[in-house]
Amino acid sequence: MLLNIVKSTALVALASCILNAGEFNAQAEKDRIALIEYTVAKFKDAEKNRDNFFPYSTDDELKNNIKKDIKVEEFAMGNYAFSIQGQFSYNEIKDMPPYEELVEQGEELYNDNKAIQACFPDTTIAGDYPYFDQKRNEVISLTGAINECLVNAGQEKWNEKKGKMPILQAYFAAQSTEAEKKVNITIPTAEAAAAYERGKEYYYTQRGYLKLSCATCHVQGAGKRVRNESLSQFLGQTTHFPVYRLKWGKDKVANGLGTLERRMEGCIKDQGQVPPKTNSKQMKELLYFMAYMSNGMNVDGPDVRK
């Protein structure tokens, strides 16, 4: 009798696991689709949708600076997707992008380091990170994986924000872009889904002395103007990293390139809070959630931003 109960319980548990196996990303998919629908609706016709989305923008801005009917794929360009004036400057910079020589340096870094070659035999992996490691039950970022690889080979860790780290990542991103890879983040287990949810909560929670969440600027605030800057939209926010920021590179070109962690650290400081460490669980789960929201979009890094 007892044996029968144990057997049937095990069977029910197994069946439940099998049934749920493909559904760990169900909530994430709902979130992703809702974000796409919101972003597309917001930028369908800014002038016409003023009351809903842009109550404080001027007529001139809505008419002359925000594009209409933007395709989902275009949102990978950040605020240049909708900002007509911004796109003009962006296209000019892209004629001779300042990161080009850094991508070449990244290729040299790769070719000169046997350990990196062994850890990353495929260089078109930019869209696959961060991923959830089922054995370790944690999110692995590309930055963390590179440093772990170096340490395991007896080499020194690299700076997680600038220098060699984004330079190598720029090479991976360029290779992935050339291979027409797409962002491909998976949520394979319940633990991965929980990590995703924690990242989501972090993104949408107000924090710091300014009481801002990431979403205040990049979901509800996307397309609105802060001084002379149009705020970029969340959708497609991770597809193009590492980025070369003109602000970062003003003193030294090599410092212009930064990882996604560097950018997020800056954003969280701007909210008025001490940011989590770049390789902390909190930061990695935040990036995991953010990357999932760009799932299916083309990898198009490295790119340039103000």
Partner: protein
Amino acid sequence: MKKLYSVVATAGLALAISGCTTNTVSTPSFETLDEKQLCNVKSNGIENVLATAAKYNKIAKEHGVEFKRLGMTNTQYIDETNKSIKAGSDKVVLLDKKGKATKNSVSVEYATQRACKFAVSALILEAEGKKTWRTAVPGDGFKY
């Protein structure tokens, strides 16, 4: 046997009650903190307010929600205020993002009050945020 049952039941009940009580005590509701009252330098005195700042900022750090403004963490703010008081100065020199002294300063009274406000507000905001964050999620609490 009956005695054994009653002992087990009593012990279970006691454990359950003590568990509930312990939980209530160990998770204070920061949302109900009265920041204006706690951080009032005039009524509480500078040293008490600074001690309040240090107490709540320690928790804010542990929770990963410490405030930072213009490159200066609240911990640095508290430390610099303490240094100024010990040195007998009425000014707190502000630091830049590398921790070096800038040309700017504020009064000890102002620095104390702000350090306390930042420490307490960080915890209030964290508690509120746990209830409100879903209202910003498209497809969840955010309607447009």
